[in-house]
């Protein structure tokens, strides 16, 4: 982790955050997410990406079955939602694998892609287990959630966070979010947190605990 931060600094980063050496992170409350996609649209409006470039995505997970009980159908279902941008990982695999050195990590932990250096090879898209890097076909470059660092530098929060009608998103230094919300950093189908140490804290939906075992799938694939 230490090495990565050093690398990031060496990669010649932009403005330093006023708060100095922190790792900024997102919090997501899966128990209260209705998949309304206000976060998705807020992101889109701020960043003006064309169709198909999705810096923030909402995955609808569902599984389980309908049981025939007497004459009736009774549900035994798992269903919850997952809103995901870039997790600005403590160990960003996208950064490690980028052949052109276009990806860097700021001292405040925000991971950025430098469009000028990006070759559009899409290695990061392959390596990221969260689907965060999004290819801009028109520009021939990779893009991804930049945690609204322009707003963060002004002391504001990322656009998606304040957009949530259910107040299911939060933002802040990782250690503060852990203090406030706990240690959970993965939810099915996200990979084990050890892989990249995502800067993401999650409150689980009541049905999410059962998700890993069964046949839970993303049911809105065409939307994410």
């Amino acid at each position: 982790m230490k090495r990565n931060k050093q690398e990031a600094r060496e990669a010649g980063n932009e403005k330093k955050s006023q708060s100095g050496q922190v790792q900024y992170a997102f919090f997501f409350d899966s128990s209260a997410c209705s998949a309304c996609k206000s976060c998705v649209l807020a992101c889109r409006d701020k960043n003006n990406w064309p169709a198909g470039v999705r810096w923030r995505r909402v995955y609808e997970l569902s599984g389980g079955q309908w049981l025939r009980v007497g004459n009736n159908w009774v549900p035994d279902l798992i269903a919850y939602n997952l809103s995901l941008g870039c997790n600005h990982c403590e160990e960003p695999v996208c950064l490690k694998g980028c052949p052109s050195g276009a990806i860097s990590k700021r001292p405040d932990g925000i991971v950025l892609i430098d469009r000028k250096k990006c070759l559009g090879c899409r290695y990061c898209e392959w390596s990221c287990p969260y689907g965060a890097p999004q290819y801009d076909v028109a520009g021939g470059r990779m893009t991804k959630c930049d945690m609204c660092y322009d707003l963060v530098d002004k002391g504001e929060r990322p656009a998606c966070v304040d957009a949530c009608p259910m107040r299911a998103l939060d933002f802040g230094p990782l250690d503060k979010l852990i203090e406030k919300y706990g240690q959970v950093r993965a939810i099915f189908p996200l990979p084990d947190e050890a892989m990249t140490r995502p800067s993401l804290i999650i409150k689980l939906h009541r049905t999410a605990a059962k998700a890993g075992a069964g046949d839970v799938t993303v049911s809105n694939r065409e939307e994410v």
Binding site: S31, A32, C33, S34, A35, C36, K37, S38, V40, L41, A42, R44, D45, K46, A51, S62, G63, G64, Q65, W66, V69, G70, N71, N72, W73, V74, P75, L77, A79, Y80, N81, A159, D162, A163, C164, P165, M166, R167, A168, H205, R206, S219, E222, E223
Partner: protein, 746 residues
């Protein structure tokens, strides 16, 4: 950056936007940035507000007046000048008035614009000053719940302010889906807060809705149209297990049992008689209800015990369950359950029914003065096609009020911001046929921003500006103590005008321009309306100048001590009687009894099998129930053409794997959904999140018939029925049976 109200289209919310402008062009739209407190929470916009730039700058915006050249509905138009268009509208109004009289003029229901200066009320004022027009009452949204609530309580102000929900211990969200239909900005958030404070939340809905996922501890997939059966069984358990609040029922209601029937009705069937099956021989047991609702009897019994014994508790009714065949019954049944459990007039309780907020009924909705209508005749909003075909035959049996009989058929439609002519009215193919006949309605004028399916049927289309391009004012949608200003932030497209300005021009041509405007432009009307608020609800409301100078956008009165409906009545029912004939909660309604139609309008709430039902003959041919839920891609039919929303929420039919497998259908495939009234072709999503036997097609997609008349737009109203509910004369668009099959292009 300017703070302004999100353009209002009857979405179920009223939110605040921060609009960023550069050189007169919107570059970004963000949300409310005021402090976020429980007393005055932020009004955070949903995706539809967030995606508004795509509507504002849509290439399909109407840019000049149009006159029809082809057959009506064919969609052929030519560009004309404003002068020609306005002269034509004025002369047609005069011609029809002279030939038939004012009662042949009609401004139909529609909610495409709701900001006072844009919207149908501008035309209503115009026609009222012109000598009047046929009026309407009721809506497509709350057709049954409004009058049915009145039969029980005599008022629709049956709801506590939402901050009080935090006191509840148990919430039944019955067919209520605030995450998708909003039902007041922040309603879903308040349920979340109640849950965080320990309330158990149970959702009853045929769909595992976004609200059920995000807010509920349990989901009960009830069969559509059978809610009153389950409610009756809940009452059965409460009565037979003695779990109901007998004291409250005795002192505060009439008609529960034989000891408290209104004078003269002692021999009639009481509610308890019905529930115990004393007269019809059918006790309304959980076992009886199970076979109807498709909910296991033990679940029904458990919910009855939970609701009756967890105090205080709320049974919150959504509105989908009352846009049905006997939508009145379920509303009355829910109110009775609230009474049986004694949850009326208490903190954390809920009287059910419509639930407008205490103490004053909440927001005004309409402040712009439409004036008195000199024509006294009024029809139910849903029955306008009847009034086109056979108005002269219509009387009280068709819901006509104000006169014994109509003296005209509708001959001229003045349509503002409404897609109810075609798209949102039931049975599109029938409506299209009626409107195509130029001998029936002789002239149709439509104010619109886009060429909607309704606008295609116009004789003259007048291009309206957007709500960003004129002044406006909003208050909360059902809930909230706010006034939201909508300053004019953009110049209108060159040849577009506000609905108000258009009507003012027509008024001028008809000789009463000054009377119409009273010398005010849009901004001056906003100032006038702010005064109305100041004099009625909000004495501390700042002036327009102050609102503008400080760029406030919204003024809110924090709710620190939430009001509870019926608090006085609960304390002392003799001193504070309800505005009902008996002064009490009318479980038995003598007035309904007097209508003499016990099979369809019983005096106590009952379950009645719907006219299109899985239990009827029709199910052999059309075995699936179809419902048209609200969808975040649109506000009814508004935003249908917004590509950002389309991408986020594609139009499709949702079907359970059990039904899909039977038909060999897979996710993403094109399917045909049809019944005797019509057919549509659209992609399907096979989903676990709907009960077997039910399909859902989000309502509001624009009708796009192909050359064979098959709808390609995904409009559920090609399948819905124009039949109305027996007491409210309300739309019953969710009561339909359909078949689904795989579709391959020929």
């Amino acid at each position: 950056m300017i703070r302004t109200g999100c353009p209002s289209h009857n979405c179920g919310g009223r939110c605040l936007l921060r609009v960023y402008l550069k050189d007169g062009v919107i570059t970004r739209i963000d949300g409310d940035d005021r402090p976020d407190t429980i007393e005055a929470p932020q009004l955070r916009p949903c995706p539809r507000g967030r995606a508004y730039r795509r509507r504002q700058y849509h290439p399909d915006r109407l840019r000049y007046p149009l006159k029809r050249t082809g057959r009506r509905g064919e969609g052929k138009f030519e560009r004309i000048s404003w002068d020609e268009a306005l002269d034509l509208v004025a002369s047609e109004l005069s011609r029809v008035k002279e030939k038939y009289g004012n009662s042949a003029l009609f401004v139909p229901y529609g909610t495409g614009s709701y900001n006072q200066i844009n919207g149908r009320q501008t035309a209503t004022r115009l026609l009222h000053l012109f000598g009047g027009c046929l009026g309407f009452y009721n809506s497509y949204s709350w057709a049954c719940i409004t009058p049915a609530t009145l039969t029980v309580y005599g008022t629709t102000t049956t709801g506590n302010q939402r901050q009080d929900w935090l006191n509840s211990r148990y919430i039944l969200m019955w067919s209520w889906n605030p995450a998708e239909m909003r039902d007041g900005t922040n309603s879903d958030y308040f349920v979340k807060l109640a849950r965080e404070r320990g309330a158990k939340v149970v959702c009853l809905d045929p769909r595992l809705t976004p609200s059920a996922i995000a807010l509920a501890d349990e989901w009960i997939p009830i069969r559509p149209g059978t809610d009153a059966a389950m409610m009756s069984a809940l009452a059965y358990v409460m009565i037979t297990e003695n779990l109901y609040d007998a004291d409250f029922i005795r002192t505060h209601s009439v008609g529960f049992d034989e000891t408290q029937m209104p004078p003269g009705f002692e021999a009639e069937e009481t509610y308890k008689d019905y529930i115990l099956g004393r007269r019809d021989g059918v006790p309304k047991t959980p076992g009886w209800a199970e076979n109807i609702c498709g909910v296991p009897a033990e679940t029904i019994a458990r919910i009855a015990r939970e609701y009756a014994t967890t105090k205080p508790a709320m049974l919150y009714l959504g509105y989908g369950l009352q846009r049905r065949a006997y939508g009145e019954q379920v509303v009355r049944a829910a109110c009775v359950l609230a009474a049986l459990t004694g949850n009326i007039g208490v903190h954390g309780g809920w009287a059910s029914g419509l639930g407008n907020q205490a103490p004053d009924g909440g927001p005004f909705w309409l402040v712009f003065p439409v004036g008195e209508n000199p024509v006294k005749a009024s029809i139910p909003s849903f029955l306008w096609t009847e009034a086109v075909i056979r108005g002269c035959e219509m009387g009280p049996e068709d819901g006509v009020v104000g006169v014994p009989k109509l003296d005209n058929n509708i001959k001229l439609l003045y349509v503002v911001a409404s897609n109810c002519l075609i798209n949102q009215h039931a049975n599109v193919n029938r409506t299209a046929q009626i409107l195509s006949d130029e001998n029936l309605v002789e002239f149709i004028v439509v104010h619109e921003q886009f060429m909607t399916p309704t606008a295609r049927f116009a004789d003259v289309v007048l291009p309206a500006c957007t709500q960003f391009e004129t002044w406006g004012l909003e208050d909360g949608w059902k809930y909230g103590d706010e006034v939201i200003l909508m300053p004019k932030i953009l110049e209108p497209l060159p040849e577009t005008k506000s609905d108000y300005a258009i009507c003012a021009e027509v008024a001028k041509r008809l000789g009463f321009g000054e009377k119409y405007t009273e010398g005010r432009d849009e901004k001056q009307w906003v100032e006038w309306m702010l005064d109305v608020y100041r004099q009625t609800r909000f004495p501390d409301l700042p002036s327009l100048d102050e609102l503008l100078e400080k760029n406030l956008g919204v003024w809110a009165r924090p709710v620190t001590d939430p009001a509870v409906a019926f608090e006085d009545f609960r304390r002392d029912p003799e001193k504070y009687p309800l505005p009902t004939p008996s002064g009490k909660i009318e479980i038995f309604s003598a007035r309904l009894h007097g209508l003499g139609k016990p099979a369809e309008i019983p005096a106590v709430p009952k379950y009645i099998q719907e006219w299109e039902s899985p239990f009827g003959e029709e199910a052999r041919k059309y075995p699936l129930q179809a419902i048209g839920h609200h969808y975040l891609a649109r506000v009814h039919s508004t935003h249908h053409n917004n590509d950002w929303l389309r991408e986020a929420f594609p139009q499709r039919v949702f079907i359970n794997p059990v039904d899909a497998e039977e038909r060999g259908i897979k996710t993403g495939q094109m399917v045909k959904v049809f019944n005797e009234r019509g057919a549509l072709i659209l992609p399907c999503r096979v989903t676990l999140k709907i009960r077997p036997g039910v399909v859902a097609i989000p309502q509001g997609a624009w009708w796009e018939p192909d050359e064979r008349g098959l709808d390609r737009g995904g409009n559920i109203n090609v399948l819905t029925s124009e039949r109305w509910s027996p007491y409210a004369f309300g739309n019953t668009q969710h009561t339909i049976m359909v078949q689904v099959e795989k579709y391959e292009e020929k």
